[in-house]
Point group: C2
Chain length 190, copies 2
């Protein structure tokens, strides 16, 4: 069954195309198999640089409209040169951005016009873990991450909260962080 | 017991300061409690923008040398405007950058001079999950992430591999992805 309701874009979301894409995937599951990629090059010390360019999806090799380069480093207090945010800070961007895009999509699909979405994300981490000083009692990663959203739009409090909750239920990054994600590491030396 | 070995910087890592920082934390565990932060603002559709500016650590409020702004969007094939990488791509940068900074630090601490570290990261994701088309059979996040390192330096294959392995054991992002990280979401509506 195909969705044939005509809908104008809402919240900058082309709802008709969004629903059409979902229908296409329902017909041909293979369209949904994606592979995202990054290449990273060490610069010096704790400073490295990643590039996002191509990816696979919708049964084809694809390329972003433009390559994006991001960098990471450690701050001076962690013996870096602080030319860029730490790797763990990018996790905070990832969760905020993933939930926010979901909020816009879900709201648009439900006919809710949003006027404001912003968030602050805070991740608590005890570096006794990565410094190897806890005897295994402290984990290496974040003890917890807290995301606080401000959401405004032409719907009541309960409706807006339910949009955020539905975004959480369908969030790729929320799942990647809250559940174990297998990470395989291969090494080629030269 | 304090480490008093004098060491010249290696791989761009100030090893004496790195070991001194570890000793200071051993004396005063409170130094190791950090909180990293991001603020995110929705732009339109699936496009949002995060800023990294301040953080807490070493018993004080701190600020990066410069604010960093990063953006996310969905590609056209996922009904976005593709002005920036997807949120999940930032997870790939985070794991590569975290492992790479660890490799440089561990190698320096072990007296190994590195001449090259680079990596490619690939994350496989089946969007049947986030599209709600799998009946719960497919997860929302990555099915797996694969990191392939090329590491070169003045040490043999086994030594270089062991440096990567030690970096993995102490990696904050590796832990955050491979083990469950609690993520709390609060919503304020207006």
């Amino acid at each position: 069954m195909s969705t044939t309701i005509e809908r104008a874009p809402l919240n900058g979301v082309d709802v008709a195309t969004l629903l059409g894409t979902r229908d296409a995937v329902k017909q041909t599951n293979e369209i949904a198999k994606f592979q995202f990629r990054a290449t990273n090059a060490w610069v010096a010390g704790t400073h490295s640089r990643s590039t996002f360019a191509d990816f696979h999806g919708a049964m084809q090799e694809l390329r972003h409209e433009q390559d994006t380069v991001v960098e990471s480093d450690h701050p001076a207090v962690l013996v870096g040169s602080d030319v860029a945010p730490t790797p763990v800070e990018y996790l905070l961007h990832a969760i905020a951005a993933c939930l926010t895009s979901g909020i816009a999509n879900v709201a648009a699909a439900r006919g809710v016009r949003l006027t404001h979405v912003s968030s602050t994300v805070a991740g608590d981490i005890d570096l006794l873990g990565i410094l190897g000083l806890s005897g295994g009692a402290v984990r290496n990663g974040y003890e917890q991450v807290k995301v606080t959203f401000r959401v405004e739009g032409d719907a009541d409090d309960a409706t807006l909260r339910d949009i955020v909750e539905q975004s959480r239920r369908r969030s790729a990054v929320y799942d990647a962080l809250t559940n174990p994600t297998p990470v395989h590491i291969e090494v080629v030396t030269g």
